[in-house]
Each structure stands twice: as C-alpha cells, then as structure tokens.
Symmetry: C2
Subunit: 505 residues, 2 copies
Amino acid sequence: MSPLRTVGAAKAVRPCLASCRVASPRGFSSAGAVRPAAAKPFVAGEPNGPSLKTKSIPGPESTRIVKELSQVFDTRSFNMLANYPNSIGNYIADPDGNVLLDVYAQIASIPVGYNNPTLRQVAQSPEMVDALINRPALGNFPSHTWAALLKSGVLKVAPKGLSHVYTAMAGSDANEIAYKAAFMYRRQLERGGPDVEFAPEEIESAMRNQAPGSPQLSILSFKSGFHGRLFGSLSTTRSKPIHKLDIPAFDWPQATFPQLKYPLDQHVAENEKIEQASIDEVEHLIKTWHMPPAAVVVEPIQSEGGDNHASPSFFRKLRAVTRKHKVLLIVDEVQTGVGATGKFWAHDHWNLDDSPDMVTFSKKAQAAGYYYRSKDMRPNMPYRQFNTWMGDPAKALIFRGIISEIERHDLVANTARVGDYLYGKLEGLSQRFPDHLQNLRGKGQGTFIAFDNPKRDEFLKKAKTFGINIGGSGASAVRLRPMLIFQEHHADILIEALEKIIKAL
Amino acid sequence: MSPLRTVGAAKAVRPCLASCRVASPRGFSSAGAVRPAAAKPFVAGEPNGPSLKTKSIPGPESTRIVKELSQVFDTRSFNMLANYPNSIGNYIADPDGNVLLDVYAQIASIPVGYNNPTLRQVAQSPEMVDALINRPALGNFPSHTWAALLKSGVLKVAPKGLSHVYTAMAGSDANEIAYKAAFMYRRQLERGGPDVEFAPEEIESAMRNQAPGSPQLSILSFKSGFHGRLFGSLSTTRSKPIHKLDIPAFDWPQATFPQLKYPLDQHVAENEKIEQASIDEVEHLIKTWHMPPAAVVVEPIQSEGGDNHASPSFFRKLRAVTRKHKVLLIVDEVQTGVGATGKFWAHDHWNLDDSPDMVTFSKKAQAAGYYYRSKDMRPNMPYRQFNTWMGDPAKALIFRGIISEIERHDLVANTARVGDYLYGKLEGLSQRFPDHLQNLRGKGQGTFIAFDNPKRDEFLKKAKTFGINIGGSGASAVRLRPMLIFQEHHADILIEALEKIIKAL
C-alpha cells in the first residue's frame, strides 16, 4: 500500500451522501475560495491531493522502463507508466513517485478505485483462486456455481426487460456476438421460424462465404460512433481514420448522429429538428440499403467519438423506428454503463416503454457480454453462439464485487450528485474561460462530462504537470471519466487544476 | 480439495521420466494385462482412476442445476456440469460425485491439471491480486512490471525468430489482430514504406468502409480450418456450416488442405502429391484471387476441423511460397501450442529455415496474443493496433506459472514420451478393432492424437459411462487432448476404457 500521507484513514468524517448537495452549491467558483472540508474517501488511504516528484512526466525511472518495454511491446501509445501497488482510490502513482488524480481511469474502466479493499477480498477468495486455475469452457463444462454467480452478480444489475446474458471477454467481442445474434435472429424470421431447417444451398454457400448462407445483411451504426476494433465491430466504428485505415470492412450503412448544439436546454427546438433528421435517415437506410440492417447499434453517449449526446426523445424514436421495421436495437453501454452517467445504465435516462433488444457491457464491469430479452432471441440450435471460454468466471467474480461496492456506498447516487456539483463548477469555469471550455456537455449525466478545447492535446499533456491524469475523445474534446468514488473534494482539486492548466496554455 | 482416495501423495514413486520408455513398450495390449505400477502423478491427490456414482451423466444434481442455469444462460451446448474444487490433476468431478479421467481438458485449454498447486500459488500471489483489482489499459498505462512479466513469461517461450508480442484476450481476437497487422503491413509495402503518408482519398474512404481506405484484401485460409468465430476470424474458418450459417463473411479465398492417407509413413509418395497440389492451389489463389491475400493462416494440425495433419515438408513449401509472393505466414497455434504435440510449438516439428511471420496463441497459455518477428512489423503509427485492455496481466501471470510448471517437470518431454506410448497402445487397439479406430493419426505428435469412428457421437457419449471425458472434432474424429501431465498409467486407464466403449457400441 502507498506510503503517502493520507486523509480519510485518520479523519472520522462520515461519507458525503445525499446531504452534501446542499453543502456544495453549484457554480461555486473555486478561484481563491476555501475548499469545503474533504469528505472521507470511499477508499481509505487516499492522499490529500496530487504530488509531483519529477519536473516532467515521464520521469527518469519511467523513461528507463518504457525503453526496456519497447524492445518487446509496442509502447508508442504509452501515456504514463503506472505503479499500481502504490496507486490508491482516485489516485494513480508512477515509478518516479508522482501521484496524480486520475479522471481517465484506464479509459473509463476502473469503477471503484485502485486497490479497492472490497475487490482485494474478492481477489483473495477461494472462488477466485478456483476460477483462475480451473478456467472452464463455459458452454460445455460450466461450474455448478455458475448460475448462482450470474444471478448474484452480472444478472443482478441486468437492464430492465433483459433477463438473460451471454458472457464474453471485452467490449469488441461483446458487440460482435450481439451482432451475430441479430443476424441469426433476422434470418430465422426470414426463414419462417426456429423450426425451419437450413436449405442445402445455404449450408453449401456458407462454407464459401457466399450468400445465401453468408447473408448480405448489415448492422447500421452512426457516424462518429465507436463499437470496437475487430473486423465486425470495426465495420460499425466510425470514430477516426486511424482506427480504420487499411483494414477490410463490410459495406454497412452509417446514419448521421445528431450533432446537437450545447447547452442542450438552450437549443431544444433546433436540436429536435436535427434529431428528427437523423431518425429519418435511419429509417431511409433501413428501407433502402442494399444490405438490409439486422440491427441498429448505438451508444447512449458517443464516447470515443467526442462525447456526443442526444436526447431521450431521440432514443425513444430510434426504439420506435427499429421496432416498426423489425430491426433489433443494440445499445452499446461498454463505456456508458455501470453508473458513470448517474444511472446504472445510461439508457435508464430514456424512459423507454419498450426495452432495447440487447445491451452490451464491458470496461467498468471488468466482465463483458450482452444482455438480451428472452429465450427466443437465442439462436435456434446449440453451438451457433459458442467459443471455447465464452467469458471468464474470474471477471464475473470481480464484477460481483464491484456491484456490491456500488450498492454498499450508493455509488450511482454519489456519481449523480458529484456530477451535478462538478458540472456546476465547470459551468462557472466556462463562463470565465469560454474559449477553453467550449460546448460543455453532460449535464445531468453524472460525471460523464466533456468540453472542447482548441489546444486539446496540449491541454491533456499540460494536465500532468498539475497532477491530473485526463483523457480526450474525438477531435477536440477533453473527456472526464472519473471513477464512481469521485467526490466533491476531488472535483474541487480538479477544478483548481483545470484553471491552472488553462492559464498555462 | 477432493476427499477422494488418492495415489501419489502416499506413494514415494519417482516421477516417470526418460527411463519409462523402456519400461512401457509400445503396442502393449491392455486386455487382461497387469498394469505397470502407476508413476507418481504430477499433481498430488489424483484418484487411482475414474469413479462413477450415478447411473448416467448428468446425474440428478447436475440436471437440477443445469435446468436452473438454462433460465438465464444458453446451456444447449452443455456437455457435463463440473465441480472444479473437487477436480484434481487429470480428473474432472461433477456435482453428483462422479469423477472422470479428462482427456478433453476444457477443449484443450487446461495444461497442468485441475487445482495445480503451482498455479494456486500464482493465483494467491500479491502480483495476481494487483493484476485483478487494478487492471491496466496496457497500451496507455502499462505497469512498471509489465516488461519483466513479459520477459519472464510469455516471451520466455517465444517461438524461434519471433521476439515481440502483442497480447490479446482469446484465440479469436489474437488471430484477428494478427490479420490486422498483416493488412497494415501489406498496405505499407504497397504504399512504399512506413514514412509514406495516407492519401486523402484513403482517409476519406476508410470512414465509409470503402476502398482504397478499407482495402479489397484478404486472408487465405484452408478448407476445414478453424481460426475463431468473430467476423474476421470466422471468414477464415471453414470447419462446419453450424459455425458460419447466417453470419456475413468476407469474400476471402480458401485452399484445399491436404487430405492425407493414414498412417502417413505408409503413404509417403501419394501424400506428397496431395500436398503439392495444395501448395499449387495456394500459389494459384495468391496470384489470381480478386482480393489479394495479405497473409496465409494455417494450423499445424487442423484441430476443430477433424485432426487433419500435413507433413513438415508441406509447411516448408508453404513458407517458401508465401515468402516468394511477399505474403505473410501466420501460424495459428491456439490449439496446438504449449506442448501438446511433444514440442513447445507444433511448428517446431517443421525445421523451418525461415520462421513464420506471426504465431498466435491462446487456450493452454490461458493468455493470448501473437508473436512477431521485428519492430518493422508493427504498424507505422501508434493507436493503429490498439484497444482498451490489450490483453490481461492476470492471464500473463497464469501463463508464467504454467511455463514454470512445464519446466519444472519437463512436461513437453513427458508429453512426447507418453504420446508415443499412447500411440503404440492405440495402434494395437486399432489392429484389433479396425472399424472403430480408423485413420489413427498423430504419431510423433505427443498426445495430439485422433482416430475416426463411424458412430462418433455415440462413442463420446458412451465414454462417460466408462469414466472418460473425451471430445470430438470434424465429422467423425475422436480427438484426444489430454493435459501435459498425462502419464503412462493414465494412458492405460484410457486404453482399457476405449476397449470397453468399443465393445458396448
């Protein structure tokens, strides 16, 4: 554990729960203000704030180690080297002794803090040892405890209306197996039901990768969407050329994602038109694309693509238009899921009458897969949706631990509240520095907040020198992806640092 | 741990090493013979043999649990329910108290036995706890210990000539990122080198999934090959229609894999012609296919597709023809790798002058990824081969533990020797029951042995009633995939059971 000076362990302050909303008014300007007393952190042992030991990051020790690593592993996308045993809660440490407030959190994939003691217990449990050393082929030889593990973990937080799950390994393959399910479902409809046998021509042509066995069907996705980087998922990813160049892709359709004006509440009528045009385009593509879509895949907030939002009304219309044309709706919650938007699933904000057909998850869940409605969405025969491992009980155990930690501390409510607090502070900052915080967005979406900065890449780099680890998305967005254990006092530290970064740009 | 009666723990027999070859002559008929004294098992606590408690498998308790599981998880491909804490070494237990000799080993993915004590230590180590609760985005925030972990584990067993690695999550995505590397490498060659910039037309068209940005290139694979079930890997998989039906696929070429006559040493001249025809077809496809192949992917032994073998000479020719046409050679060692063929990598049998360009691994490694030659095979810019996790240090730790266990007990040599012993016994059996053990194959390939049986599916089912868990491949093959800790006395038990199965069919 970190030898750093700590708060929380020593102080007997109660965790900041619902009452803090009053104590921490929105729009509170941090400049020169006295910080409110820090609440007890959810992970004991956190430092009071960032601390920097070297003039720049990476420091000499990190530089030496990265050089060694680059001999055998591609390190050109390296951001900073981490010393994980010394990291704690919201703080990431490096081998040079620097400690940064981490609002990027391993690309939005650490939910309850570094070295979380609840997860430590899970990692040390006999069940975990068993899962690690006796890894099952879950489709063939599930453990006698697998049903209970699913029900007490992954399925305990299943989105409304989706009570079944296929587990997978990561976000990309979670999306791809959802796509496969959609194709099989579509062809079954076309064929006339689950009991209609494959035609000899289908069986023969599938082995040659030709229609009708390998059908000319598609998945419809949105411009600037991101759904992963394997061949099927990458065909639906439209984030950046660097993600796609030189990789063969399916000729699948893309609709324009609404490019809304922010703040959303000041451009309602205008944005509604933009959203309707997008829905119309979706319907047009469904009706006319030469490879008909079996499903539409959409992120509740386009995350890699630049933190692009749309309204609940847009998504309700999308649900309606997909239902109308018997096209499945897959909601990709790989980055938005597990609490970050102030609801457990971001699509909970939409108040759908009719749930999505599938919801994919990964990242903060550490486990991965897709939830689905009912048994009739399973392929009609065994071994059609199958692979050796079909997920990983070790990660399902971690997810269960994360869920228990979220429940114990009411971390989704925490994130909603702290998000509102942080958004208010950022609004104040954007009024003072409008050129540096453009298109502030994510109001009411927990800590899933972003803004555009014209010198974004420099901004991100400079942040490290003020003790903040922060990421970007799209062309110019600074994206905030704090953990669910991010509190008001962390927000204050972040706001102070953002002001310093802006002034140093 | 299992409360079963055990051998090994009580007996002080030395492990059966090189000297056993003499003590266990090939072709020894098990019928009515006295078994040689059992050697000490590599995992202490193994039972003397299988033991069955219920009339059939699944028994009542398994049936009850599977019914419950099927409410939320697809169990139609279920083979048997396992009680992993009660499983030990080569033996898998179920919740009804049945204990079977497991020569399927989680579809060939358990290398050193259930509840291996060395792996248990790894699973309980502080490094493992750290890896589980602080999972890094390896491309951005590698741990300061990642280089050392790679060098002492994954890279310690790197195939000759391939000193670099990209890590992944499972076999399918290991193959797909290798394919992506091949496409980027190919386009870089066509473009004129790593410093030539992308053309605006490439950048623009890639975002529309169109050429030239999304190039009309392919991966050439072999008929009856298996390389995974995501969209790119499935386009190279040609095993069974059930794997491919209803899933869109790329129009990529397939060459005929040599369909050799067994035993190989009795059909040398004939087989050589068959292999040459296959090489000629590969060259023809490389020269003429409308989407030129950037790489050829091949399994050393086609594993899912029916245990189809080819000679070292075939693979040397394949290396030559790919080199000649500047097409990369990807060897898919997902199932054959990590010792099962009596060499650490199956392609070590080929004596290549010129190593493959990439070798993919997963399954018995528990970790996954691809090895490659040199830095010039990395994409020319960062973030081209990238995803959130890029592998999993927890699995890299397990792989390191597996490697240490293999070294400690010389398990690759064990597998070579026991494989020869087992093959000899099977030859004897095939002479007595030629209709039931057709096309026996895998001589000199460790325990990677298979034979055809006309009632294969019944054979596999019947095996459970004689205490054996065994799998199939292709249309009619019984495939043996014992663990690396499989010994002569396990082979004897297996042979006795096979005879009983045959007689009961």
